[in-house]
Amino acid sequence: MKTETRTSLGVGASAPRPDGALKVAGAFAYASDLWLDGMLWGATLRSPHPSAWIRSIDVGPALALPGVFAVLTHEDVPGAKFYGLEHADQPVLAVDQVRYQGEPVAIVAADHPETARRAAAAVVVEYEVRAAVTDARRAALDPACPLVHPGGNVVRHQPVRAGSAGSGAEVVVTGEYEVGMQDQAFLGPEAGLAVPADDGGVDLYVATQWLHVDRDQIAPCLALPEDKVRLTLAGVGGAFGAREDLSMQIHASMLALRTGRPVKIVYGREESFFGHVHRHPAWMRYEHGATADGRLVYVKAEIVLDGGAYCSSSPAVVGNAASLGVGPYEVENVWIDAYAAYTNNPPCGAMRGFGAVQACYAYESQMDRLAAACGLSPVEIRVRNAVSQGSRLATGQVIDSPAPLAAMLGELAAMPLPGPPAYAPSGSRRQGGSGARARGMIGTREEPDPRRLPGGVGRTTRGEGVRRGVGYGVGIKNICFSEGFDDYSTARVRVELLGGEPHALVHTAAAEVGQGLVAVQAQIARTELGVDRVTVAPADTSVGSAGSSSASRQSYVTGGAVKAACEAVRRRLEALAAADPGLSLGELLDRYGPVEETREYRHRPTVPLDPVTGQGDSHTQLALCVHRAVVDVDVELGLVKVVELAAVQDVGRILNPLALEGQIHGGSAQGLGLALLEEIQMRDGRVLNPSFTDYLIPTILDMPPMRLSILENPDPNAPYGLRGAGEPPTLSSTPAVAAAVRAATGLALPRVPIRPEDIALAHTG
């Protein structure tokens, strides 16, 4: 058999996304687009209070409305009343109390979305409001704090102890840092369609990140065996962690089973803010000790993460913050305590880079303070302490694949800086003959183009009060699930003749959420099988679990599974070819029929962190990204314009250059958003800004041009040597932007997002 047919568009090529043409044609079916004749619309009544007892629920007025088919409460949950990713502590519908504003209390199915919403509002709930626990530090550390859950307010406390509780440092810097609550703000809101099946089960079409773990949580609550809960991935409008927990899945299924009709639920934007977990806000106190020449002697840190009302993935977030809490630096003596606490704030869980993002902002802020204290540049302090292959993390884990941080920093620092500021009084900025440009014309030296200045076309400055700053950030992120989790993916690959041509069908349950995994799966099949025509089947639960589209893990784990299944198919084809030499692949398939294999792929096992010392090889792979940010700041108004972001990332092996760059761009933009714009603002447990008018995500005018350098130092343990790539840029861009603003303003700015008043009031006050 001739398998050497060279395919284009295999691994390493910028293969176009197979869903791209549908998406630009408006023909790709997102979850919110699903439609069945006769379907009903679901709506959810949510608690207006962050903390209250429920004294009574009267569904009568809602049921009395014409067009309403069902109104359900906790009493109608057929099976288990609680679910959750790591602990089943979250009620499907509130039972006797609510623990956060927005907690679902009752659900309605009606023949029109507006009717369903009106009916939900007609349900009468009598609450007895309690004081809300909203201070995570108090919840975690003050024994007198009221309990949000009877088992105590600490979801997890993970210490890390290495070396001795340091002394002997010649330079000591300390700082307290805060990270606000960020929202994933995917553009396509939560949606799904539940269809009751003849066998008493339910078929659910939903936008999610992990079909099988959804099913594992849904089935017990519906009191159905797993095989009667079948999930198919509907089109996903972005995820970023927000779809790892359940939202409407059980609710729509309950309504469908109760009414015997298909039920669709789509959240609006405001409801979406209440319908998914957010990034954990963090409070962090750090102390770094170093020698006079800037070599780290010890790091002490206390990290408190606000887990909100339910557990979600808080334990894993704590694990990341603790194990990666000093960053990619060599230091012998480490004393870290990381906590997540229950509060009556919205539940927090997965968001791109979780746990590592918060710690990265703090340790990088500390490295800049240390640089200043030692009289070193930000780059030099990082290079002096940089990890490399063979370095030992604070957890005792040795980095056993390339980690060329010093070289990455060198390359980043050597990248050219953007041209002089738009306001610079420099002759070099004149374009063309100055005589041709009247004073006041846009773009002249006298009147710089406002679009290049902080404040933009608001014309808040002509350049006066504007200062430039440059900052650096470095981040390290674990790739794949850590701490002993059995992390695997399953792929089924079938090669057959279609229309006389060899064709490969790849089937996994891996969620395409926008990242481009569908393209990568097809590329792997082309490379491994030498077949040009590849189809990636829709993801569903009729094949084994692929694990979550999170932790930057799908190229690694599902990529590994597709590769393994393709190899198995190839071996069988080779055996056939050996028995029947001289036949082409097409002829073999014609003679012997389709060849299909299913394989599971697991990455190297990891171990849980020791609960007392935090020691253990808890991660299977680590990835580095470094950023440099250049900003112009109007120090009088506190307005920031990011002029350029540059990044160097080591991805081990590039599978799809264009898709990869897109991941780095997008991750960097979300990190920039956290630095300057994005925060769910809370007061007494209530969300103040649940809309895109008040929750700001970067526009194209906020996001500067990016300069990228992508390195390929392969990890011998990973398929193709690849390294997960989606999250690392989200870590390092935040501290880089914050450092640049500090450099421009001279302010400490210990909290992100940096608000205009943090700068302007400091300068006028």
Binding site: V24, S32, L187, R269, R451, G662, H665, G666
Partner: protein
């Protein structure tokens, strides 16, 4: 149907085809397109005019369909993302977005495509600044915009290359 009762007949030319439906006065154009006409290519990301995902062309000009009542545009011409392509091939803007990887999840894409189609019709060779401004009213959460801006310029190129082939222009039904 238990919805509010008084209905008005709304007739639109959508992607070149006369479409009509009887709808309540408060029916948004976005819901009219998606629910009453089944054209779900137009997306709703924020419902109040911020994200631009719902952008369609009304008599050739971009509008936010989530801020427009269907009854107020009775008798007008609407182009949605479904109407941008020629008979057999994608429009230059659609092609450029796929070529340049100007989309990931793609939820924002229809709004960008409509906005850029109208923009390049009026300004076929934009400067960097003009291109940025043209899409500054559309949010994308996935791409960090780098490839979107490349796609705008690439679309201008394709459009210039294919001038004289009217079926490639798209945008106006």
């Amino acid at each position: 149907m238990s919805e509010e009762t008084t209905r008005y007949l709304v007739t639109l030319v959508v992607n070149g085809v006369v479409r009509e439906a009887a709808v309540p006065a408060r029916r948004l154009l976005s819901d009219f397109l998606r629910h009453d006409l089944g054209l779900t290519g137009t997306h709703v990301g924020c419902e109040h005019g911020v994200c631009g995902a719902c952008t369609v062309l009304l008599d050739g000009e971009p509008v936010r369909s989530c801020l427009t009542f269907a009854v107020t545009v009775d008798g007008h011409e609407v182009t949605t993302v479904e109407g941008l392509a020629g008979d057999n091939e994608l429009s230059p803007v659609q092609r450029a977005f796929t070529e340049c990887h100007g989309l990931q999840c793609g939820f924002c894409t229809p709004g960008f495509l409509c906005a850029v189609t109208a923009f390049l019709r009026d300004n076929p060779a934009p400067t960097e600044e003009e291109a940025l401004e043209a899409v500054s009213g559309n949010l994308c959460r996935c791409t960090g915009y780098q490839n979107i801006i490349k796609a705008v310029h690439r679309a201008a190129e394709i459009q210039a290359e294919t001038q004289g082939r009217p079926e490639d222009r798209g945008g106006r039904a």
